[in-house]
């Protein structure tokens, strides 16, 4: 009976560990969410409703294609933890020309993109190897709407 109680306690603790790690990824999503509306005046950034997440190790990168509609301004927000500079992201066009890298901006956790004409972009995300070796990385995209 005593042993069963201990095993149940262990199981509960174990499930707590997994859940704790899950919360970690969720809490990183919360940090990225805060970047989505940081420092804005007379406008808001509305999420596209998706959470882009990847578990990255060493030099692994996650890549996705997206459409930026002309006449719009977008914000890309990234996070892999409480420090702002864990994640490097590059934005490339359909010819793989580099349009932007936050590595040139101190690994800024968010950046805005004013798009003149509709373009297809690739966004590549990786951890800065000098700052974090592995972990959950979250990227959010929002589009700007001027406030009424």
């Amino acid at each position: 009976m005593k042993l069963s109680a201990k095993i149940i306690s262990i199981a509960l603790l174990f499930s707590g560990v997994v859940s704790n790690a899950q919360v970690t990824c969720d809490s990183i999503a919360g940090i990225a969410g805060n970047y989505l509306n940081k420092g804005t005046e007379n406008s808001i950034y509305i999420s596209d409703g998706q959470v882009y997440r990847a578990f990255l190790q060493d030099d692994e990168s996650a890549e996705f294609s997206t459409t930026f509609f002309g006449g719009s301004t977008y914000r890309i927000a990234v996070s892999a933890g409480q420090r702002e500079d864990y994640v490097i992201f590059d934005v490339l066009d359909e010819q793989d020309m580099l349009l932007f890298t936050n590595a040139d901006q101190g690994n800024a956790p968010y950046w805005d993109f004013k798009v003149t004409n509709t373009i297809q972009c690739k966004v590549q995300t990786r951890l800065d190897p000098n700052k974090k070796s592995s972990g959950c990385a979250i990227l959010l995209i929002g589009f700007e709407k001027k406030t009424n």
Binding site: T24, S47, Y52, T66, G71, L99, Q105, I119, K132, N148
Partner: protein, 319 residues
């Protein structure tokens, strides 16, 4: 954590008893201790090598990170709310007849129908909100909540959301943020709980509904919206790849995927000419202006074919 150390102290002190009797508990508790330490290292400082070795995340998290991941690619689908904004900016009037009647939500029985229509009603909700039709927006919360509950994401559309929605019903911006956050929360939940199928179908349903709005508006000669439709070609390519990556079967799903492939074949007749122009970055404003140009050419004939196919796909979803 202190509870674990307490148990460990007790067990290892109790070695007067036969070792084998406690070996199982010792192994289990040691495992829990190690995993707990790893779990508590969720915010490791840069490359800290502790006595336990490199930080590892439980397999479940790694598995859950693979959502929408195909050969290292993650899919991104533009928001139907943004499409609604672009439609309004083109000067088109609101048309309630474009919405899927809210009563239809009672008719959906398969997971394919429930998930895709959760996306459809989300787009309807966004469209009505953009045009500041508060009563319609509030009405459409009912089918959204019903289907969200049946898809398993009721927490994202809980009472708190309804209260915030009602309390801010005259503030369009707040409502749009609430809708987007709720869908984002649902997306996050589904992806982390190995339900990428539902997450993918919600996106597909929302995209088809927003494209349906665009096709109906373009039919009336709105050139701006016509080109917006042509610009969706790459998104459709991502969407088809996403649908293929989902581990699912079923007649309605398969018919839908075939229809989407046929739609892509039509979109393949939309041509575009991209020209790179050097972007300008303004570090002080955290802003980059992307100056590249992209000219889309979509003929009226192709638009007509696309409109018919989109109507058929929408009918397959909402029937």
């Amino acid at each position: 954590m202190s509870v674990i150390f307490y148990y460990l102290r007790r067990l290892f002190k109790a070695n007067k008893k036969p070792f084998m009797k406690h070996r199982f508990e010792q192994i289990m508790l040691s495992t829990v201790l190690v995993l707990t330490l790893l779990g508590s290292c969720e915010e490791p400082e840069p490359i800290v090598e502790g006595p336990l070795g490199p930080v590892r995340v439980p397999v479940e998290i790694i598995e859950n990170s693979k959502q929408f991941d195909l050969n290292g690619q993650i899919f991104s689908i533009p928001s139907p709310v943004q499409t609604a904004i672009l439609i309004k900016e083109s000067g088109a009037d609101f048309n309630e007849g474009l919405l899927n009647p809210k009563e239809q939500a009672d008719e959906y029985s398969t997971m394919f129908q429930k998930a895709t229509n959760l996306g459809v009603y989300g787009a309807d909700l966004g469209y009505a909100t953009i045009y500041e039709n508060t009563n319609i927006s509030l009405d459409y919360l009912t089918p959204v909540r019903k289907l969200a509950s049946e898809v398993g994401v009721e927490n994202a559309f809980n009472e708190d959301l309804i209260e915030r929605f009602s309390a801010n019903s005259t503030n369009q911006d707040s409502i749009l943020v609430f809708i987007s956050e709720a869908y984002q929360s649902a997306d996050n939940y589904l992806k982390t709980n190995d339900k990428s199928y539902q997450a993918g179908l919600i996106l597909a349903g929302g995209w088809i509904e927003a494209l349906h709005f665009s096709c109906m508006v373009a039919k009336n000669g709105n050139e701006d919206v016509k080109f917006r439709i042509g610009e969706q070609k790459s998104t459709l390519k991502s969407l088809v790849a996403l649908l293929h990556s989902l581990d699912v079967n079923g007649d309605d799903y398969e018919e839908f995927v075939i229809g989407m492939e046929e739609l892509y074949a039509s979109f393949d007749q939309v041509s575009s000419t991209y020209t790179y122009r050097e972007p300008l970055t303004y570090p002080g404003d955290k802003l980059t202006v992307i100056n590249s140009t992209n000219e889309v050419d979509i003929s009226d004939e192709v638009l007509e074919i696309i409109s018919v196919q989109v109507a058929d796909l929408r009918e397959l979803i909402i029937q």
